[in-house]
Symmetry: C2
DNA sequence: ATTATATTGAACAATATGTTCAGTAGTGAA
DNA sequence: TTCACTACTGAACATATTGTTCAATATAAT
C-alpha cells in the first residue's frame, strides 16, 4: 500500500479513536475528523464511503488482531485441552489486560456498545470452534447456548472494565466459569 | 393534560414507532416524523428537545407499563415463592408473548439494541428485589451476578424473537433456568 | 526522469437542524 | 356564551453537515 495512503488512513483512525473516547459516535462529524487528522475532505471520502464504514474498518483492525492471535494458537492444541479453567479464556483476558491496540479505551468508552457487538460476534466463532471446552450439557439449542456463553464473557469483560480492572485475569476467569 | 397535547404526543409516538420498525434510528429525520405524524415543525420541538429525547420518552412509556404491572404483582408475594421454575420469569415471558403495547415490534426490529438496553436496566431492578429466587450461590460480586442474570434473560428473549417465538413461554423459562 | 496516483482546497448542491414569530384554532372555566 | 389561555401552524430563517467535483499540486514507485 502506498505510503501516503497508509499515513492518511492511520491519521484518520487516530483522530476518530480520540474523538470516540470523548463523545458519542452520532455526535462526531466528518468535519471534526478532518480537522483532527489534518486532511482534506476529498481525501476522507476517497478512503471511506461514510462514517459508518470507517467504524466498521476500525473494528476490523482492532479485533482481527486480537482474534487472529488466538486463532493462531489453535495449532497448539495442547494448550486448550489440559486443565480447567480453560486457558483460552484466561489468555483472552490477559491479552486484554495488556491493552494491545489500546482496545480497552474503546471498550470502556461511551461507545462501547459498538465495539462489544463486534467482540461478541468474533467470540461466537471462537466458541463454536472449541465446543470441547464449552460443552452443552443440557441439550439446549446450540445457537442459544453459544450466544449465552459469548454474552456472558462480554459482560464479564465489561464489568471488569467498569470496575477499574482491579481483579486479576485469573479471578475474572474464575467468575466467568462460575456463572456459566 | 390538554387534549391537543395528548393527541400530538401520540401522533408523534405512532409515527416514530412506525419509522423505527422500518429503518434505523440514525437514518430517521425529524422531517419524516413531522410528515408521518402530520404536525408542524415547531410543534415537534415544543414537545421534544431532540430525537434522542423522543426515544427516551418512548422507552419510558413502553417499559414503565410492563414493569409497573410486574411490580404491582409484588404484593401477591405467594406467586413468587411457590415452586420452581420461578413464575415471575414465566409471567414476564407470557406478558411479552401477549405483545402488550406492541413492544415486540420494537424489540425485534433493526433498532432492538436501543430498547433492549432499557429492558435490561429495568430487569436489574426487578432481580435485585427478588434475590430469594436468584440466589448467588458462589459468592460472586453481587452487581456482577445481577448483571449476568439480566443479560441472560434479555438474550433469551432476543433469541426467542429471532427464532420466530415458536417455542412456548414455558420452554423458554426452562432454557433460561438451565443456563443460569 | 517519467508515469501513476494520492492529496489538496475550494466550491457546490442538497439536506437536516433547531429557532422564531405572527396568525389561527381548540380548550377549559366562569 | 364569552373570555382568557394555550397549543398548533407554517413559513421563513440562520446554521451546520454531507457527499461530490475538479483542476492544481505533491509524493511515490520503477
Amino acid at each position: 500500500m502506498d505510503r501516503r495512503q497508509k499515513k492518511t488512513r492511520e491519521a484518520i483512525f487516530k483522530a476518530f479513536t480520540e474523538l470516540l473516547s470523548k463523545k458519542h459516535f452520532n455526535q462526531i462529524t466528518v468535519g471534526e475528523i478532518l480537522e483532527k487528522a489534518d486532511i482534506g475532505r476529498a481525501t476522507f471520502y476517497a478512503h471511506f464511503e461514510t462514517k459508518d464504514f470507517l467504524l466498521k474498518e476500525l473494528c476490523k483492525e482492532l479485533f482481527c488482531h486480537i482474534f487472529d492471535t488466538e486463532e493462531g494458537r489453535e495449532n497448539h492444541k495442547h494448550i486448550f485441552n489440559c486443565h480447567t479453567p480453560s486457558p483460552i479464556i484466561l489468555h483472552l483476558l490477559q491479552h486484554l489486560q495488556k491493552n494491545d491496540n489500546n482496545i480497552l479505551d474503546l471498550l470502556s468508552c461511551e461507545n462501547n456498545e459498538l465495539f462489544l457487538r463486534y467482540f461478541k460476534e468474533n467470540l461466537k466463532e471462537l466458541i463454536k470452534n472449541h465446543t470441547s471446552i464449552f460443552e452443552n450439557k443440557s441439550d439446549l439449542p446450540s445457537d442459544y447456548y453459544i450466544n449465552h456463553i459469548s454474552v456472558a464473557f462480554v459482560e464479564t469483560v465489561k464489568w471488569w472494565l467498569d470496575n477499574g480492572m482491579k481483579e486479576s485475569a485469573e479471578t475474572l476467569a474464575d467468575y466467568f466459569f462460575k456463572v456459566i
